[in-house]
């Protein structure tokens, strides 16, 4: 299958020919005895949005969680193969997963703000990483992160109110602000809009497009329209295999694999 994957990888993106920000090499994941991912080779290019699509249970979220070692906390989960971030093996024993997660941030499916104030939610990351020394520094990070997440205007008068009191879409943007406050290089998003209404979804999608300028983004989504709207590259997973990866336009207009075609035209999945 990897043969096919390589063939279907036309590097025609507008961005200059950059080395991959992250690179998966023969990634296998096992939950106990069950293999969830089979030999996935996938490059994540810098300052691009890579969308992972596929039917439920196909392993796209599993792959996403491998990229910042969130699978480490699952006892029965075992990862084989090699994943690199800037050519550095992230599963190397010399690399601390806590440091890695400061470089590869994550936004989850369900908005999960801490039951603290909006301010404390955003300030939490900079505080634990010691990136800001003074109160003024933290104030600045909070404001700029909320601004980048397009939320500052809506919440600037109630920064000390609980983040859990916001609407679903605002909560999710708060979670994005919280993630970018740490200034990661890569942001992973696991179906960030699946719990939101269309208007909130549109806002987040707009935001993702803006964030692409400064961050590398990997997004798992169930909505093919969303993948088509926000991503530059799309990877299609099926039954734990990476079936096809390529430019979003090419995947949606001219898929090379019949399974991809079947999925995007809605014949299964």
């Amino acid at each position: 299958m990897s043969e096919k994957t390589k063939m279907a990888k036309p590097d025609t993106s507008a961005a200059p020919q950059a080395t991959p920000k992250m690179k998966g090499d023969k990634v296998k994941v096992f939950y106990g005895n069950k293999q969830a991912l089979m030999d996935v080779d996938l490059d994540i290019k810098p300052n691009e949005v890579t969308a992972l699509i596929g039917p439920s249970g196909c392993g796209k979220s599993t792959f996403l969680r491998c990229l910042n070692r969130m699978n480490d906390v699952i006892d029965i989960c075992r990862v084989e193969g090699k994943i690199t971030l800037d050519d550095e093996d992230i599963y190397d024993s010399s690399l601390d997963p806590v440091q890695l997660r400061a470089r590869v941030g994550m936004v989850f499916q369900k908005p999960n703000p801490f039951p603290k104030s909006i301010y404390d939610n955003v300030a939490y990351g900079p505080r634990i990483h010691g990136t800001a020394q003074s109160k003024a520094d933290i104030d600045e990070i909070v404001e700029s992160s909320l601004t980048k997440a397009g939320l500052f205007g809506e919440v600037k008068d109630r920064l000390l109110e609980p983040g859990t009191g916001l609407s679903g879409g605002q909560q999710q943007r708060l979670c994005i602000a919280r993630a970018i406050a740490v200034n990661p290089e890569v942001i992973l998003m696991d179906e960030p809009c699946s719990a939101l209404d269309p208007i909130a979804t549109a806002k987040i999608e707009e935001l993702i497009d803006e964030l692409r300028e400064n961050y590398t983004i990997v997004i798992v989504t169930h909505s093919m329209q969303q993948a088509a709207r926000v991503s530059q590259r799309t990877a299609f997973f099926h039954l734990g295999e990476l079936v096809e990866v390529g430019d979003t336009e090419q995947i949606f207009t001219n898929p090379s694999d019949t399974r991809t075609q079947g999925y995007i035209t809605g014949r299964f999945g």
Partner: protein, 437 residues
């Protein structure tokens, strides 16, 4: 594909729910019946509680009152200071009992026979002399004076005053004889008998004389014991729960530990007492009857409760909060201390207070380590001999004097007050730490 689909072909009979009035009536009747059963249970439980509290307060409230007799006491130098030295040591060791007896004889000049005199002496508390001694030591100028003083009555007169002696009963079946009744009535008609608030009940420790027995020793003992229990079981229990829930790998060993903790929670408490006896007293040689050891034994007993409650409180924290913190690059310890523990705190505190309330009412394990002793001093430190509230209740319930009956109930009231206080504390802590999301 399936039968259901096969049968639903056009023309097949479609069954719709029958909405007959009869069925509907039955359904509503069943619901009404169920509600009535529930209401009945609540009322039954409430009545039992009212009966329990009512019978305890009904018997116990009189223990908060004490009868006093006004007697003319002359501080006779012959008894107190025959040599006239004014030496405090002499005043301390003087025969106050004899002095009171002499004064009683003077107050009742007509009493001459030995048996009548003994009955007369029985009017006042045998320990009343100590109160007079304290008065004299405080103010030595009393020697030689003559004063009308309120002297604490004995338990028999106290019971008579409180109406627990049936005058119609045959004399031989009464604790108070007809002669004594006569003296009592004379004193009463001269306004020489009075009932006051029983401060001694709250300021003294146990005594063989009911009118001298107080609850302070047991309350202090309970507080000291609970302090040790809390200091040991709370940190150990919460730490164990955090480790098992957040850090420990899930393998056969942790499963075994979990099963054992759950089993320990069901072990009869007296077994913990035996363990304490073997380990703390016989092996380590800690003092017997001491709050230190009592607290350690009760901590052993409370630990499983706290661990189980803390683990379920930790488990109830949504995993999304852990993921959010981990995703930001927090270490596992930071995830626990910054997010999980504060959110689990209300549950942990509730579990701890339930465990402590259980320990407060526990007697059996303390019997094994000698905390059932009769202790007349209020314990001053963790290693002093002490007793605790439930043991005090048990000891008083076992005493034959009528006056201990009301004291038993009063002690139960004090114990219940403690439990209610702890429960209110639990509710308040819950409210304080609770966060909504």
């Amino acid at each position: 594909m399936t039968d259901a689909i096969m049968n639903s072909k056009p023309g097949a009979e479609i069954r719709r729910p029958t909405l007959s009035a009869d069925r509907l009536k039955k359904r509503y009747a069943a619901e009404r019946r169920f509600r009535l059963y529930g209401l009945g249970s609540i009322i039954a439980a409430g009545l039992m509680l009212v009966f329990l509290v009512g019978s305890i307060t009904g018997t116990g409230y009189s223990a908060f009152l004490q009868t006093y007799i006004k007697l003319n006491i002359s501080f006779d130098p012959e008894y107190l200071d025959p040599a006239g030295t004014g030496d405090v040591e002499q005043l301390r060791t003087a025969d106050y009992g004899g002095m009171i007896k002499k004064n009683l004889r003077d107050n009742f000049a007509e009493v001459t026979s030995r048996s009548d005199k003994r009955k007369l002496y029985n009017f006042v508390s045998p320990n009343a002399g100590f109160d007079l001694r304290n008065m004299v030591i405080e103010n030595p100028s009393l020697v030689g004076q003559s004063l009308d003083l309120w002297i604490k009555a004995s338990d028999d007169i106290d019971m008579l005053r409180k109406g627990y002696v049936d005058r119609t009963e045959e004399e031989s079946n009464r604790r108070v004889t007809d002669t004594e009744l006569g003296w009592y009535d004379r004193l009463d008609s001269n306004d020489r008998i009075e009932t006051r608030f029983n401060t001694d009940f709250f300021s003294k420790a146990d005594s063989r004389e009911p009118e001298e027995a107080g609850i302070l020793g047991a309350v202090t003992g309970s507080l000291l014991t609970m302090a040790i229990t809390l200091l040991l079981s709370f940190p150990i229990g919460v730490m164990a729960a955090i480790y098992l829930e957040e850090f420990a790998p899930k393998n056969a060993w942790t499963d075994l530990i979990e099963v054992n903790i759950n089993n320990l929670a069901a072990v009869p408490s007296i077994v913990f007492g035996l363990l304490g006896l073997a380990l703390f007293l016989n092996f380590f040689g800690f003092p017997r009857s001491a709050p230190l050891v009592g607290g350690m034994v009760l901590a052993l007993m409370t630990l499983p409760t706290i661990i189980i409650a803390s683990r379920s409180a930790l488990k109830a924290v949504p995993p999304s909060i852990r993921e959010a913190a981990l995703g930001l690059g927090a270490s596992r310890l930071q995830v626990v201390t910054h997010h999980v523990l504060p959110l689990a705190m209300p549950g942990i505190l509730t579990g701890t207070i339930i465990g402590m309330a259980q320990a407060l009412g526990e007697t059996a394990p303390l019997l094994m380590i000698g905390m059932i002793a009769f202790i007349v001093d209020v314990p001053g430190s963790f290693t002093d001999p002490a007793t605790v509230l439930p043991v005090q209740i048990y000891l008083w319930a076992d005493s034959p004097e009528r006056a201990f009956v009301e004291r038993t109930s009063a002690a139960i009231m004090v114990l219940l007050a403690f439990l209610i206080f702890m429960n209110i504390l639990a509710v308040m802590l819950r409210k304080k730490f609770e966060r909504r999301w």
